[in-house]
């Protein structure tokens, strides 16, 4: 109980908002808008899982938004050329993994700081995409939106698959040696090395994973509309990092878990519809999200100061 206090407190805050909505704005609980909300957040959840891995490993990746854009546009173009879904999907995942591997080689292989490496990747990919596409939309053929399953079924598929990915990764982090390695490297890379773990390999693979997850998330987003917008994925990196940090994953590495990241994401995602339903001006959304992030960071700061001694 005490061990998961941080995650539980986020869950508590989420519960309070949901309860408040149930009392003051029961309309929030209409199935179709709720399902739409969860569907919109499904790709974000998948990216957030990846970012949580990276942060636990004491790295950061701010290029996810740009990788997401490039994967979306490339997947869209492939689909537009008539590739079947079953080929577009792995292609997008593979492309994401390649970008992740590129970051990983620079961070783990050359031991460059990940904030700088991924900043460079972020800017380069974003500008490169603008240059090549000149802001053009990609029109998708029939059968891509909702995977050709119809809206409600498609939405259910997306939400369920994102949760399945979350569960699989959370289980892996706890029950596979690989998860242990990520925590160990994030807490103390030198100690891990002296214990026979290869910190550079672990870091590299974590970056490959986040790239692949981002490619997958791009596909999950692609399936939600008939077109790919050129600005898709813009600001995604900040959104997921905020969610992960609010969920109690320590930015200093080695601490936190995916369930917390999940709760953090839902908490931040609820703000906007909650405001709408409570008829508060939408301008408050960012302010409230910012306050939540600050609260989370301050709480972590106080906690680590107390635990440090």
């Amino acid at each position: 109980m005490k061990r998961y206090f941080r995650e539980l407190s986020v869950l508590g805050a989420l519960g309070a908002i949901l309860l408040g909505l149930a009392i003051f704005a029961p309309a929030f609980y209409q199935p179709q808008p709720l399902l739409s909300l969860l569907t919109r957040e499904a790709p974000t959840l998948v990216v957030a899982c990846g970012v949580a891995l990276v942060i636990v490993c004491r790295q950061i990746d701010i290029s996810v938004g740009s990788i997401f854009s490039v994967c979306s546009v490339c997947a869209g173009l492939l689909a537009a050329r008539g590739w079947p879904l079953l080929l577009v999907l792995p292609a997008s995942v593979a492309l994401g993994a390649v970008f992740g591997a590129f970051n990983g080689v620079l961070v783990a292989g050359l031991r460059l700081p990940s904030i700088v490496v991924t900043l460079a990747t972020m800017v380069t990919l974003r500008q490169g995409l603008n240059l090549v596409r000149q802001g053009e939309f990609v029109n998708l053929p029939e059968g891509i939106q909702w995977f050709g399953l119809g809206q409600t079924t498609g939405q259910l598929v997306l939400v369920i698959s994102s949760v399945v990915i979350l569960i699989l990764l959370a289980l892996a982090m706890r029950h596979l040696a690989a998860g242990r390695f990520i925590y160990a490297v994030g807490t103390d890379a030198e100690a891990a090395r002296l214990a026979g773990i290869r910190p550079q390999l672990v870091t590299f693979l974590v970056f490959v994973s986040i790239g692949a997850l981002t490619g997958l998330a791009a596909m999950m987003n692609l399936a939600q509309s008939p077109q790919v917008q050129p600005l898709t994925g813009h600001g995604l990196e900040l959104k997921v990092i905020a969610a992960v940090v609010v969920g109690g994953v320590a930015i200093s590495g080695g601490r936190g878990n995916l369930w917390g990241a999940f709760a953090g994401l839902l908490l931040l995602a609820c703000i906007s519809p909650a405001l709408t339903h409570l008829r508060i001006e939408a301008y408050w959304e960012k302010a409230i999200q910012g306050t939540i992030i600050l609260l989370a960071v301050v709480a972590d700061g106080l906690r680590s100061r107390k635990g440090g001694n």
Binding site: R174, H175, A177, R180, T187, A192, L194, R255
Partner: protein, 498 residues
């Protein structure tokens, strides 16, 4: 001596937590004198410097500077009172040039003051010329070699106009040529009436440079002598002093087959050369020597952290090349590192995670972790090594030093090694835990493990080891039987004959 000494310490006491680093040191330094400070590792030399330079406040005793008793010394006031220190590790700003470094170190101007860089540069040139160093004042410190950086440090001390200059092992990283420059600087300072506190393990330097020598042992000064009136044997006797108490568990069986055999082993990058010895199953092979002798460097070679570039390692009759820790672990080598807080135990993780960190593949042959097996194994080791903790879930950081060391040890015992390398296993551990660790190590040897024990604690390495390899200057200087006369061991470490 008619005038008051430059520096006088009376009954200086310094405690770190429960550890008494200085327990009543008397020391005085006169103007125009080189006063050498000598002692084993942990005798209190570094602590003494930290107190005199104001880095740490003493818990008792008095510091008198030129007849004035000072209290509440801080690094800034110490500097203002004319105390300068040259540390073993140069403390320079690597991205700034030599002239900028000197300017920052010699006078901290008010933040709004304009820096006169041409003056700074001129002064740097002058100071470097005075010590005879061929270093450009415009060179970035990053681009300088270690000895060159040391020379810049010396220039700092010289330029500060300090009346007391402390040199902590200044020749440790210097080549012959720069040592020569340094000795010139020391003599120059002495001629100008500066008092120099000179710390070195190299007895020949002390005899060549110093006027007087004070020996520290276990945090106390055990004697001050004019250098002219004492010889090497006398100094060693003062340094070692005590008898080795027979509290160490004795070997009960003869060692078995040779497990590890080193032949002419060397690694240029870490300064180890020409090390040859054998370690047998059931044997504790101690590695003695002073700080910087190359013992940890040797251990790092054996664990694949800094691969050897010459010589051979034979383990269980098979020649090995060890390039990674993974390879070392796979061959049954375990290394319990020196700095357990930084490298041994991950303080944030539970004991159980710490313990199984090196054995995932064996403990969890299927993909999934088995928490039951992990818990059982952890409980076994907690019981076996008598680790005091609230349970396998307790975090590493919640344990005392001795218990952290046991967890670090348990992690490696769980790998079922053939060769166990212990690097300073009882450093900073209280007396009770120390004797427990000694018993554990002896028992492990009895169970057939080959143990290499690196320790700077002379009684420990002599009392616990079956044989002692004494290292110095990156090479093996002697192999002595366990229980040898400490004077002989110390003499070998210092590279002299007692």
């Amino acid at each position: 001596m008619s005038p008051a000494p430059l520096l006088e310490l009376r009954q200086l006491v310094k405690n770190y937590g429960g550890v008494r680093a200085l327990r009543g040191v008397d020391f005085d330094l006169r103007a125009g004198e080189v006063h050498a400070l000598l002692g084993e590792n942990g005798a209190g030399k570094s602590t003494l410097i930290k107190v005199v330079t104001g880095a740490h406040a003493p818990n008792g005793g008095t510091i008198t500077l030129a007849g004035q008793t000072v209290s509440g010394l801080t690094p800034a006031t110490a500097r203002a009172l004319g105390i300068a220190c040259i540390y073993q590790q140069p403390a320079l700003f690597p991205d700034l040039t030599v002239a900028e470094n000197l300017a920052l170190r010699l006078n901290v101007p008010s933040p709004a003051a304009r820096m006169r860089w041409s003056d700074c540069r001129a002064r740097a040139t002058r100071l470097l010329a005075r010590i005879g160093a061929e270093i450009s004042p415009d060179a970035e410190v990053r681009s300088l070699s270690m000895p060159e950086q040391q020379l810049v440090e010396i220039a700092c001390a010289l330029g500060s106009g300090a009346r007391i200059v402390i040199m902590d092992e200044p020749t440790a990283s210097l080549t012959q040529k720069e040592q020569h420059l340094l000795f010139g600087v020391v003599r120059d300072l002495r001629k100008n009436g500066v008092g120099v506190i000179y710390i070195s393990h190299r007895l020949e330097e002390i005899f060549a440079l110093a006027d007087r020598v004070t020996v520290l042992r276990d945090g106390q000064s055990v004697g001050t002598h004019p250098v002219a009136g004492i010889d090497e044997a006398g100094l060693i006797r003062l340094m070692v002093g005590r008898e080795v108490a027979p509290i160490y568990p004795a070997a009960e069986s003869a060692p078995g087959a040779v497990v590890l055999s080193l032949n002419q082993l060397g690694c240029r990058s870490s300064g180890v050369s020409n090390v040859s010895f054998d370690v047998r199953a059931g044997e504790i092979f101690g590695l003695g020597g002073l700080v910087g002798a190359g013992r940890t460097e040797l251990a790092r070679i054996l664990f694949g952290l800094t691969p050897a570039d010459s010589g051979t390692i034979t383990l269980g009759g098979q020649p090995l090349t060890l390039r990674t820790p993974q390879a070392a672990v796979a061959h049954g080598i375990a290394y319990v590192p020196e700095d357990r807080r930084r490298h041994g135990v991950v303080l944030d993780l539970p004991i159980a995670h710490n313990l199984t960190m090196a054995i995932h593949r064996r403990l969890f042959p299927t993909t999934w972790l088995r928490f039951g097996a992990e818990r059982a194994l952890t409980l076994d080791y907690i019981r076996d090594l008598a680790v005091k903790c609230s349970g396998p879930e307790a975090r590493g950081g919640s344990l005392s030093g001795g218990n952290q060391q046991k967890v670090s040890l348990a992690r490696w015992l769980a790998t079922k090694p053939k060769l166990l390398i212990l690097d300073e296993p009882t450093q900073g551990v209280d007396v009770g835990a120390k004797s427990e660790i000694h018993k554990i190590v002896r028992r492990l040897a009895k169970e057939g493990l080959a143990v290499i024990l690196i320790s700077s604690d002379l009684p420990e390495v002599i009392g616990l080891s079956d044989r002692i390899g004494v290292m110095g200057g990156g090479t093996l200087r002697a192999i002595l039987p366990g229980g040898s006369d400490p004077h002989v061991v110390m003499a070998a470490a210092l590279g002299t004959t007692a």
